[in-house]
Structure formats: structure tokens, C-alpha cells
Symmetry: C2
Subunit: 312 residues, 2 copies
DNA sequence: TCAACATTTTGTCCAGGACAAAATATGAAC
DNA sequence: GTTCATATTTTGTCCTGGACAAAATGTTGA
């Protein structure tokens, strides 16, 4: 009759899976800070209560946001939640109708309603066209999904579902537009190693292809050397790199600087994504995008500065 | 000029990521069997050579197939590869044209050609119809992909790409057929906890929906209690559970027995998937499917045994 | 404002002992 | 021979407590 899990507590391996904190880390926190302080079973092995795991999850999320364990571990769960809330990106509150649509879409994600999700997105895409769809729907939706994820309202499978559906939609839309492959400028898109998120790339491509640019995507996780070589070999005009919020800003800066040096002077280097927020101007000769909406304008400016394909 | 990784060796954390073997396991193997025997860096930390990691990967795959470490660790890499080759499912070698198509599709998977992959599958689906597509294309293709994965010819992202594209295709096809939702029998589809593969479920659904069955999928990883409760509450005629090759047969058997006891006698319990190969007859009152092609016939037989919806 | 240096924090690594769960071998009973 | 229960081996995971480098932070001087 009772096959369900006894709600007594979780062993350390399960906590590692649930929170993403390594077993070594869990043990060393216990030694240093006194938290978590799991009970022990009859074999002397750690047994973590659900409360402790919840608090650990909160701490993990905050650490991912750049806060430090020592400042967090003493706090009450309520205080941690509050911190998380405060960190959530302030949403510019688009018009209420659109907001309601977003909530509906988020509901579909939460409930795993693949079909409904796909249909809603498809409808919005048809209604707005590709570029406005990316700028007005996907950009804010990504923020919402990111926040929900941060708060723990979404789990891995839900986030995955959202990403895959959006990718499928974008790929289909882009490939239907990409007829004229001889466009200008020639843009190379990719991400750095350790950056796995392909969504930013696709969104950038979706903004540029309708402007007549010739976009080639290398996908995610391209080593710096390979980016440099590909840019040279393919005579690209622009190299565009995307960074998700999770990407360590430090790595991004170093990498961009190094890449800039390795590229020919006439090749532009563009970078964007949530991982670059707030670290602008510091980089000479690199165009940092705060918003994906700036892409079409940037393309037009590039064209004015590089007129006349001539022959070559 | 040289930002690339020095090919000297990998630290233990990287080996854990690459091979899926826990750090503790790597260390205890070294202690017990003398393999792997990594070099040490200036801090005394383990540095694994590429050769050792390759051999570890082979061993890992063979262990997943049910072999035991002690028998494997002494063998040469060549012998390990041979073992892996021998284990590959013997493929019934369909007609050569179809085989060539499969190879093309596998090539698309390897090269991350999302669009080409989607299009090839879509064409086959259109040509064959949903049921034949599942039986004649997806079933053998899954074996091929599984083998390639076993051999290390595919990595996680490739396997993922394949799965997602197939899922999208099947979901779209199923939802376009599922108009008449009042069909019979009422089938509840799901997997056990720890079984994450949803493809088998979708394929089963794709075989049954065209026969007029009313399929409700709970998705993957449903606790046994929840399956039982859902089956009772929804007055289902059939509960269908799917197991991928990676699922431990022992768990499957125990779980199925336990579930059979918890279900009303008039509810049929069906189970299938690569995880159940070779452990047939042992289970009374449970229908084990060796091949997904048996589903339509099984449905017809069920209908003959349960005629006349009467009223209710 | 930035760069260079000193200090603290923090995650990961190590050794080697222990033990339970899984797999296998052994034997009894039908 | 097959099925079941029981002994034995194999194997993965957990434990403690020490160590240290990389990252983050604080400090100083141009």
C-alpha cells in the first residue's frame, strides 16, 4: 500500500543532485559554518531535512548571482527569498494584454503543455513578424523564464521545454528567410567555450537575416582559436558572440579582449547578452549590445560605413 | 598565438565529467585494481592521460551494458572495443535503400544539421504514415543511435538533438490525429521514476492514437503510487509503461509486479521497451511487448475481448 | 580611475578506512 | 531442471580532517 518515499530526509548524493552543490562543498560548509547540520542515520551517514535542502537551493541560486556563501549561510530562508526577489530583473511592464499572454505562456511551460506552448508562440510570431517577435516577445519572455528559474518556480525539464520549442520555431523561421545567401555583411555567430546557451545566437540571427545579412553560426562552445581562424578563413565582416546571464563576466571580458587582438582590424567584433550587462565602455573596438533591438540599427550603420561591395 | 589547451592531461573533475565515473570511484579503482594510474602534478593532484580517459570511457559503456569492472579493467583497449562491437544489437538489415537513408540521417545528427534532420524525418513520416514511420523508421533508427552512442560516436548534444527533433515531429503528428478524444480503450502512458526517456512513450502513443485509442500521457518519472491513483481515478482500461535500454531490469520487474498488485483486476498492464528485452513470460497478467509493432494487434485483441461500450 | 599587491574566502583535492547494496555462487526443495 | 533462500564476493559510496590554489576582496599608490 505504501510504496511512496518516507519524507524523513535525503542522503548527500540526492542533495548534490537537487542543489547542484558538490558533496565536498556540503561537507566543508558543515565543518566551517555549521550549516547545513544534517542528522545521521544508523550508519553515521548524513540525512538532510527538506528544510535544509530548500535553504541550500536558495543559497545556491544567490551564489550563482554573485553573492558569497559566508554572507548567506547565516540568513533565514525568508531573508534569502527576499534577496532573490530583489535581484529579479525589474520588468519594464509592457502593455497589460501582452503581460497576460506571457503569463499564459509561462503556465503552459509549467504544465508541460508542449502543443499549447508551440501554438501560442507560433501565433505571436505570425502576428508580429520575426524581428518584432524576437524583440517584443522572446526578449522579455526570456527574462521572465530566467526569473522563474532563479526563484525555483521552474525545474530543469520545464526550462528545457521552453528552450527547445523556441529554438525550433526560430530555426524554422530563419531557414525560411535565408534564401539570399549572398548578403552583406557576412556575420559569424558563436559563443565561447563553457557557454552552452544557443538561444541568444538564434535570436541574433533572427534579427539580422531579415536585414539581408549573411549569417553563419558555428553553434555554441567554439574555442577562441577556432573563432579567430574561422573569421579569417571565411572573410567575415563581423564576429558576433553571445553570453547568457550565467556566464562569468570576467571570463567574457578577458576572452573578448584576447579575441579582439587576434582578429584583423577591419573585422568588427560584436557582443551581447545578459552576461554582459553593466560592463560596457571598458572595451575599445568592441561593440557591446545592451538590447537585441539595437542590432538592426547597428547593421544599417555598418552598411553606411562600408558601402559599395565593388567587385573584389 | 597559442590559447589552446595543452594536451598534457586532465584533472580528476574533468575525467568525472567526461566518463561519468565519480571521483570516488576513480580513486578506489586506482587503489584496488591499479588502473587508472594517473600522473601527478606539482601539487600531487591526479593528471589523467587521454589514453586512460579513453579506456575509462570504454569501460564505463561496458559496465552500463551489465559487465563488471573486475573483468574489464585488465583488458586492452582493443579488446574492450571488440566487446562493445559484439554487444551492439544485431540489426536485421532492412532493405539497402532504407539503410542508406538511415546513414544519411545519422550523418545529419553527427554534424548538427538541425534543418536537414528535421526535413528528412518529416519526409519519411509523410511518405509512410505515422504508424509505419514509427515501426519502420524510428524503431531501427533508435537502435542505430543507441549503438553509436554506446560506441562513443555520438556525444550528449548529438543524442539530444536527435531526441528533440523526433519528439517534436511525433507530438505534432499525434496532436493532429487526436481529434476524437472519446476513443476506446482509455490508455494511461508513463514511465517509472528514474526513467527519463520520453521517446518510447511518444512512439507508443503514435501507434495507438491512429487506432482510435484515447491516450493520456503523464510524461516520464511518475511515482508508482501516482500511477496507481491516476489509473483508478481516470477509469483507465490499460496502463502502459515504457523502459529504455538503460533501465535496470531488476527495478522494472519489481516495479511492474508491485504495480500489477495495486491495479484493479480489470485494468490491463502493458510494458515495453529495450529495457525489458529477454525477461518475458515471468510476469503473470502483464503484457510484455518485444516490439512496438505488436501494439495495433494487441489493441484489436483487447477490443474483441471488451466489446460493446454499452452506456455508462 | 586604474593597476599592482596583500589578504581572505572558498571550492576542490587527497588518503585510507568502513560499510551496505548489488551481483554472484552455493545449496536445498520441489 | 527450475525455483527459491542463503552465503560470499564485488563494488560504489560515504566518512574524517588536513591541505592548498584559484577567486574574490581589500588596500595602497600613481
Amino acid at each position: 500500500m505504501n510504496t511512496s518515499i518516507p519524507p524523513s530526509g535525503l542522503p548527500i548524493a540526492a542533495v548534490e543532485r537537487d542543489t547542484g552543490l558538490a558533496k565536498d562543498t556540503l561537507r566543508v560548509w558543515e565543518r566551517r559554518y555549521g550549516f547545513p547540520s544534517p542528522a545521521r542515520d544508523s550508519n553515521g551517514e548524513r540525512v538532510y531535512s527538506a528544510d535544509q535542502v530548500d535553504k541550500l537551493r536558495l543559497i545556491r541560486r544567490l551564489i550563482d548571482q554573485g553573492l558569497r556563501p559566508a554572507k548567506l549561510i547565516g540568513l533565514e530562508p525568508a531573508a534569502l527569498s527576499e534577496l532573490l526577489g530583489g535581484l529579479g530583473t525589474a520588468h519594464p511592464a509592457a502593455d497589460p494584454a501582452r503581460s497576460a499572454q506571457f503569463e499564459t505562456i509561462l503556465k503552459f511551460v509549467r504544465l508541460h503543455l508542449h502543443e499549447d506552448l508551440r501554438r501560442s508562440l507560433q501565433q505571436l510570431l505570425m502576428k508580429l513578424g520575426l524581428q518584432r517577435f524576437v524583440g517584443e516577445v522572446l526578449a522579455p519572455l526570456n527574462l521572465l523564464v530566467g526569473d522563474a528559474w532563479l526563484r525555483g518556480e521552474l525545474e530543469v525539464p520545464e526550462e528545457h521545454l521552453y528552450t527547445e520549442q523556441v529554438q525550433n520555431l526560430l530555426r524554422a523561421a530563419i531557414s525560411s528567410q535565408a534564401a539570399a545567401s549572398e548578403g552583406r555583411p557576412r556575420v559569424l555567430l558563436t559563443t565561447f567555450p563553457d557557454e552552452q546557451h544557443a538561444l541568444g545566437l538564434l535570436m541574433a540571427e533572427a534579427m539580422m537575416v531579415p536585414e539581408g545579412a549573411c549569417c553563419i553560426s558555428l553553434g555554441t562552445q567554439t574555442p577562441l582559436d577556432d573563432i579567430r581562424n574561422a573569421a579569417r578563413a571565411g572573410r567575415f565582416d563581423i564576429v558576433a558572440v553571445s553570453f547568457s546571464a550565467a556566464f562569468p563576466a570576467r571570463l567574457a571580458l578577458d576572452g573578448l579582449r584576447s579575441l579582439r587582438e587576434g582578429l584583423p582590424g577591419e573585422t568588427s567584433l560584436w557582443a551581447g547578452g545578459a552576461g554582459l550587462q553593466g560592463i560596457a565602455r571598458k572595451l575599445p573596438d568592441i561593440r557591446i549590445f545592451d538590447s537585441i533591438d539595437e542590432l538592426p540599427d547597428a547593421l544599417r550603420i555598418w552598411r553606411e560605413a562600408h558601402p559599395a561591395p565593388a567587385q573584389e
